[in-house]
Symmetry: C2
Subunit: 640 residues, 2 copies
């Protein structure tokens, strides 16, 4: 969408310049490339990450990757999957270590499609994104680096950012102009430094850790599990990997040590010798070490994610923490996704620039929660194991019955957070809580189990046109549109309400009709997701059996145009075994009367309303969208 | 494994020469290439199927493709999925057509992992196999054809087959020698003709059909479903396809017509006009026709699949039938798989050549069943729709309540067969039925739900080493080995039986120890499937919770060596909701005492025995394998 009409004639123009092709930069780039933006994306490495680095994909991130159509390519690499975490401690009596308990890494109280962590080399994950980018015409320019930038809306309101780029060997230089600049540079961010944005360190205690990826031969029985091992000789975390590899995190020093030295290091052999002592009486030998590194763990958070809403930071440039809860890549993905759709909403002409302020507010809050969690988790992990008398050390025969020590307790409490399903954005212009001072009594109907700022609950439904059983939450691809789920309840009950809803959607000043496609008449009848508007995709879910649905009779034309997004809520669900309409029930919506759920383009719920007869439901949504969209809607218009 | 030591020095030597790279040839080639054989594979087409042809992958075939690691590549093409079939007929009163019922294409009484038919262009499926072949060093030689062959074990017992090949333009020729020759040439088989093998035609009634693949614009509501439409103007079958395409089968003539002419044809326009009349009052327009063809439906079966067990036929070369039940490709796959493992078992030195006789016996019997089914199905489909008064024509409001007419009845009865789960090989040397005159009373224990000659039931279990929840029936890849499932019941109950079983497996004259790997001492400890023998992979399933399993304590060393194939039977299953050990229960095995299931390399059950203390269980398996393996086993040896 970039034009070359303004700015210095010699500078190429882009919608965005992205620095760094790690997870955060690649996610941002992939989204924006799919939505048609012109991107300059550089990275100072000659090629994608060859070894090591972050590699844990949490359950919710896997949902996201599936929604993007990238999951299969990742799974093709046969990653390791962590379903459970095992805890090992010194035995009550005697030497060595014993398993004191195991816990599901994504327990069944979380309704996850993929209740496991996926572990794969970061470079392979990066290549999946890079290959998708190439399909959309974006090549990462390597090895190039950023040398300077300016941002000035006054002198160039359309392309306010000027960026100077240079090949790492200094042989070539480029100056480009852009609407936005993004730093996905990692912890050492040139852009953040230039902006003089401070990092606040959360935790005074620091640790030095060794991390070693390799292929081992061992009789330790849990080598294919995620394990936390505390022994009298130190602590290890075991993380399984693809291709028979295993990653070991081994603590080398702590700022609570008498001789603390943050630059303390250890050789590969020293770390292996230490691992052998910790794992005793089990043996371990390395057949091959793929990667070994020593690094201090610090906990820091960037004070600002942007100064002018033109130059943004995300990922490790904003927050650093221990890698042990496997959150780095996942947090990076969600930073990028959050920013991507907001830039799109603004640049495509739907939303006010003001929504860009919610990026820092939402994502910094999540980072604070992550750091608070990581702090607690890392401290517990790094500290000396509790004395055997402090926990009811389980015998090898009864590995399950043990009273939780603090470490295990923290871990359990944090499962929802680490799975990614716990991310909750606070109420703001985009997320209308029950306390929102909106005038409509329809908002947040009684009994609702959905929470604005959180993900839609997972549910199975049957697609009407082809009888395919599908995952409702996955149906709309990541197309940058708001997702409007019309849970239509029982057709005999809601017939008029549904008709009224469609009528008022179609009326001239609705949020929907105010943003119709300019090429409306030329849209192919095969267009599925955006037949009317580029900003909305609508699903209609009827609380009846598929064979009883006749679309032309039961669904008003406007909604029926989304014929591939009409579903029967007729699948049995073990979580609501007695519900006649399980998807309605899982959302906490009345199975007869239904309700309307608006989900933001990134999958988080914006507002939930009743499905009422008359204009009220559309009025409520007009009020919601009217808060941040560029046009005056519905009543607001008539009141002018 | 081919050697060049015998035969004419000028002829290259292969293990097998395969003619034709359609589904049957590709499946055979892919299996044998993976298992290390040297293959000459030719096809007379310059490239894979460009359009049209068979395209239905049935549920059981999808299981097989997944087991081969090929499912993801097929699903990446976003095939259409058929979950339901809709029946349309003339209404009781008035004109046009109405939906008289729908039925699941793979109803829930079939315990399928993928209860749908997958529809994808045959050329795309072929390319998935071709790409796998290339990874194993096999290139299809195109466009080449076979000009002649001889087979004479007397003059060359090791490479008895000589084959003359020629480029289709006649410019190049080759003569090669092989152990086997396979015709996957399709209905017009040069090899079959040369062998003077007759085709027996099963059905005197013939039909001429038009088939058209294309993109349409229509208001017919079931255009994305599989439909059988009978109207006063003729019959159509609708099959959805990938990329918004739809396939229509339209009857043009029948031998029961007064003016029957098997060479009757129709233009594209005539067929479209006919389709419009049949679909009235719905409209249909073609945006694009990808492929159109007219062909007569004949039903034939080859009298023999081989004469000398060196030159074999498979796929369409053996059986032709109507394409409408979507069985062609699936039957071809299973022909090839059945032959592949038997050739492997013989050539790798495990089985007597006599097992090759079971290929024709097993597969011809399945083809007879298919033709009998297809005959009935095709006749019903082709005949004039039953008068509206003959069936309780359902109103549009109650589309479900209709008494089944013969057509629907046949369809329902045949679901198990068409899904692929109904394939049942009769008792023979490989499949020991309850009536087998074996001396062991352990065979086919009371309560067993498994049937020899059929597939293992699907079940979920938890892998012990990494706590991954897995599909047990998918765990062992298609490695050409027999799969021995030791359902170990409750460890406290079967401790001695399991120990005894492992002890006798390990004793010198057991079927297991008689076929150890020659490189046993050099096998990597990372080897998962074949650590001891190339002919066996063993799974051990304990009826207990995963956290309670300690492999070193609960599983004898020989079985524990397959550490990635040890499972806890601790997953809840809706089909046996009250079972403590669902997998045991689904197999009909005692949840305390367990049992042993031997599955052939193609996934069909060979024998089921109790898990008894002492030597009896291994004795029974020695007797089973002793019937067809190359060495004298166990007691048989001591009795000599």
């Amino acid at each position: 969408m970039a034009k070359k009409s303004s700015g210095r004639p010699t500078s190429p123009h882009y919608d965005i310049v992205i620095i760094g092709a790690g997870p955060v930069g690649l996610m941002l780039s992939t989204c924006l490339a799919r939505w048609g933006y012109k991107i300059k994306h550089i990275d100072n490495r000659a090629e994608p990450t060859p070894t090591g680095r972050a590699d844990g994909i949490q359950p919710r991130s896997l949902d996201l990757l599936r929604n993007m159509g990238l999951k299969a390519a990742i799974m093709a690499h046969k990653p390791a999957k962590v379903f459970e975490v095992a805890f090992w401690d010194p035995p009550k009596k005697g030497k060595g270590i014993v398993r004191t308990g195991t816990w599901a890494s994504c327990p069944s109280f979380i309704d996850a499609r993929y209740p496991f962590t996926t572990l794969l080399h970061q470079g392979l994950i990066e290549r999946v994104f890079i290959s998708d980018l190439e399909k959309n015409g974006v090549q990462i320019q390597r090895p190039w680096t950023i040398k300077g930038f300016t941002s000035d809306e006054k002198s160039n309101p359309e392309y306010p950012v000027e960026v100077n780029l240079e090949h790492v060997d200094g042989t070539h230089r480029e100056t480009v102009r852009a609407k936005y600049l993004f730093s996905g540079e990692g912890a050492r961010s040139f852009i953040r430094d230039q902006l003089r944005i401070n990092i606040t360190h959360k935790d005074p205690i620091q640790h030095v850790w060794g991390v070693m990826d390799g292929v081992v031969k061992t009789d330790f029985p849990d080598i294919k599990m995620k394990c936390t091992i505390h022994s009298k000789h130190g602590s290890i975390m075991v993380i399984p990997r693809e291709d028979n590899m295993v990653r070991l995190y081994i603590q080398i020093a702590s700022s609570t040590d008498a001789d603390w030295n943050p630059r303390k290091t250890a050789t590969e052999e020293e770390v292996q010798a230490s691992a052998k002592r910790i794992l005793h009486p089990y043996s371990i030998e390395w057949e091959r070490v793929e990667w070994y590194s020593v690094y201090p763990i610090g906990q820091g958070i960037s004070d600002k994610y942007t100064l002018d809403h033109r130059v943004f930071l995300g990922g490790d440039a904003c927050h650093t923490h221990s890698p042990k809860a496997g959150q780095g890549m996942n947090t990076a993905f969600l930073d990028a996704l959050n920013l991507a759709w907001k830039i799109h909403a603004v640049e495509a002409g739907f939303a006010d620039r003001a929504i860009l302020t919610t990026y820092e507010a939402e994502r910094k809050d999540v980072a604070e929660t992550l750091l608070a969690f990581d702090n607690k988790y890392a401290k517990l992990f790094s500290q000396q194991a509790p004395a055997a008398t402090d926990v009811q050390a389980a015998s090898e025969q009864t590995t399950e019955q043990t009273e939780d020590n603090d470490f295990i307790k923290t871990f359990k409490e944090s499962c929802e957070f680490t799975s990614g399903y716990g991310v909750a954005y606070k109420p703001n212009m985009l997320n209308w809580s029950p306390d929102h001072p909106a005038s409509s009594p329809l908002i947040n109907p009684a009994g609702i189990k959905l929470r604005t700022g959180r993900l839609l609950n997972n549910s199975d439904v049957t697609r009407v046109v082809d009888a395919n059983v599908v995952h409702l939450e996955q149906e709309i691809p990541l197309n940058g549109s708001f997702r409007i789920y019309v849970f239509a309840g029982k057709p005999s009950v809601t017939y008029k309400a549904l008709k009224d809803f469609a009528f008022h959607l179609g009326s001239k000043r609705s949020f929907y009709s105010s943003y119709l496609r300019p090429d409306l008449d030329a849209v192919s009848h095969h267009e599925k997701t955006n037949p009317h508007s580029l900003f909305f995709t609508i699903c209609t879910i009827l609380a009846t059996r598929r064979a009883q649905v006749e679309i032309t009779r039961d669904v008003p034309d406007l909604l029926a145009r989304y014929r591939d997004y009409i579903y029967a809520d007729d699948r049995w669900d073990r979580r609501v075994p007695d519900a006649a309409a399980a998807a309605h029930a899982k959302m906490g919506l009345d199975q007869e009367k239904g309700g309307v759920v608006v989900v933001r383009p990134d999958g988080y719920i914006g507002i939930v309303t009743s499905l009422a007869e008359g204009s009220e439901t559309v009025d409520a949504l007009n009020e919601y969208f009217g808060t941040f969209c560029t046009k005056k809607l519905g009543d607001a218009m008539s009141q002018l």
